[in-house]
Amino acid sequence: MIIEVSGLRKDFTVTTKVGRLRRERTVVSAVDGVDLVVGRGELIGYIGPNGAGKSTTLKVLTGVLTPSAGRVRVCGLDPVADRTTLARRIGVVFGQRSQLWWDLPLGESFELLRHIYRVPAAEHAARLRTCSDLLDLDGFTRTPVRQLSLGQRMRGELTAALLHGPEVLFLDEPTIGLDVLSKQAVRGFLAELDRRGDTTVVLTTHDLADIEKLCERLVVIDHGRVVHDGTLDALHTRHGSRRTIVADLDAPWPAGQTVPGAAVTAVEADGTRVTLTLDGRAAGEVVAALARIVPLRDLSVQEPDIEDVVARIYRG
């Protein structure tokens, strides 16, 4: 297992003013007993509302923050004690921070990273070519980083994080603030990375489309605790998300009519449109049953909306 976390806790002390001179110190747990095991080559989505402890977890895993309690191993190393050794084996992108040199052209940042990580020139060139092809960097490698657009910079950040061939890639909101095209570029790139299978990716995001398109496995954290660890489907099942069928009918829906295996949740357009919520039965059976009741004109099956499920979890 490339990442092993058990019983991880991270407390922060918050000082608040009470009266004129007295200060009260309270301990807040940003992460409160997280267990997490990630295998080599997995791509997991690590999500949760603002302040749930996502970034804190990532900072502990990368060795920037010292855990208050618990055991953490990344690539077999203790992140805090072996931070500089671990740095050669992981890549990190913080969507809201930059690891590039502000005043230098993007290409020079890459060159500098080659020396800092002591990457053999041929390996560096090969990885840079791959990233450049997938992320279309050619147009702006000579532009100083401070003049890049956010989308260009983020593509540069991803490349910078991968040039030393890391075993684990930590991405903290890599699509934040990007336009649709840049988001697609980043997602496409991560999907390709996942297909190759030699890099483990831990992705935090607020953009649930990222999760839907990329992550087999989803870890949801709330108030510092893991509230779900499994596939997206398992999340839907557990939280009662259902598929729905919307049918346009040739004749009005008979009032009070029921359908086996589904609940009628809405009747609209003078009874010629019904919405059925499936209780787990296959859509084909329900559609067949529906067709026996009234003639159908048009039909669509809708997958459950991930936003709704997640919002339900966040609300508690």
Binding site: N50, V64, L65, T66, T85, A87, E111, H115, I116, P144
Partner: protein
């Protein structure tokens, strides 16, 4: 030696070489103040024969080397470090396989190399052309002076890095930085040669503080004050301060990182 230090040095050099207008403006300002200070000191020397034991051409070197070193040691400009601690960007520095102390040091040395070629060389040339600099008798002074300049930059860097590190506790370093700017000017020999101070005070500054190492040391070596033997002693003092302060940076950084709370999640 690995290539990373050289690459960082080159990056620091290039970074500052992109700011051409600022470089020209800096050279101009330093030169104007050089003329003012030079005329002032030379007029005092004309009355008294010398100022604190510095003769005419020694005073010219004191002024113009000092004007150039002001930009080379760069005491007045804090390092990015404090701002990066405050905003949390320091995380990116900590996630590199090299200790940030060395990353910042090599980058700052690159900056200093650029400053030597522009903001030190040009005012020195102006001073030489307009007034005539002191010419050392012993050619060994030149290599010793070069080493002394490097140590002045390293010591100045270590001081600024230490101040930057206090951001791990204070978050806002402006107050401390003001105190530093005051002392690094007054006690390094920028405003007046330290020898004009009462002996007990100048001795105290030389022995107990790193400030003279930032400027007065190199100037005294350049004008052969006390001869080369004394110059080597001064150089040894600079090396001692540089090492001591770099060690202090390491110790303080370790403690700072341990208590790090990254701002803004």
């Amino acid at each position: 030696m690995s290539r990373a230090p050289l690459a960082l040095l080159a990056a620091g050099f290039r970074r500052y070489s992109t700011y051409r207008q600022a470089t020209f403006a800096g050279i101009f300002t330093n030169s104007v103040f050089g003329f003012l200070r030079c005329y002032l000191l030379l007029s005092v020397a004309e009355e008294a024969g010398s100022v604190a034991g510095y003769s005419g051409s020694q005073l010219v070197t004191y002024v113009w080397l000092g004007q150039g070193m002001l930009a080379t040691v760069n005491s007045w400009t804090p390092l990015d470090l404090a701002e990066r601690v405050r905003t949390g960007d320091v995380v990116a520095d900590l996630l590199r396989p090299i200790d940030p102390l060395w990353t910042y040091l090599w980058t700052d040395l690159g900056r200093a190399c650029f400053a030597v070629l522009t903001r030190l060389a040009v005012p020195l040339g102006v001073g030489a052309f307009a007034f005539g600099l002191y010419v050392p008798d012993d050619p060994l002074v030149y290599p010793v002076l070069l080493l002394s300049l490097v140590l002045a930059v390293v010591t100045g860097f270590a001081c600024r890095y230490l101040i930057g590190l206090t951001a791990f506790w204070l978050l806002d370093i402006r107050g401390l930085n003001m105190v530093w700017v005051f002392f690094s000017g007054f006690a390094s020999g920028l405003y007046f040669p330290l020898a004009v101070l009462p002996e007990w005070l100048s001795t105290l500054l030389w022995v107990a503080t790193p400030f003279p190492v930032l400027m007065q040391s190199s100037i005294d070596i350049a004008v052969e004050r006390g001869g080369l033997g004394h110059g080597l002693l001064v150089l040894a003092g600079q090396a001692a301060w540089a090492l001591l302060l770099l060690w202090a940076c390491r110790v303080v950084q370790r403690r700072g990182v341990r208590r790090l709370v990254v701002q803004g999640g």
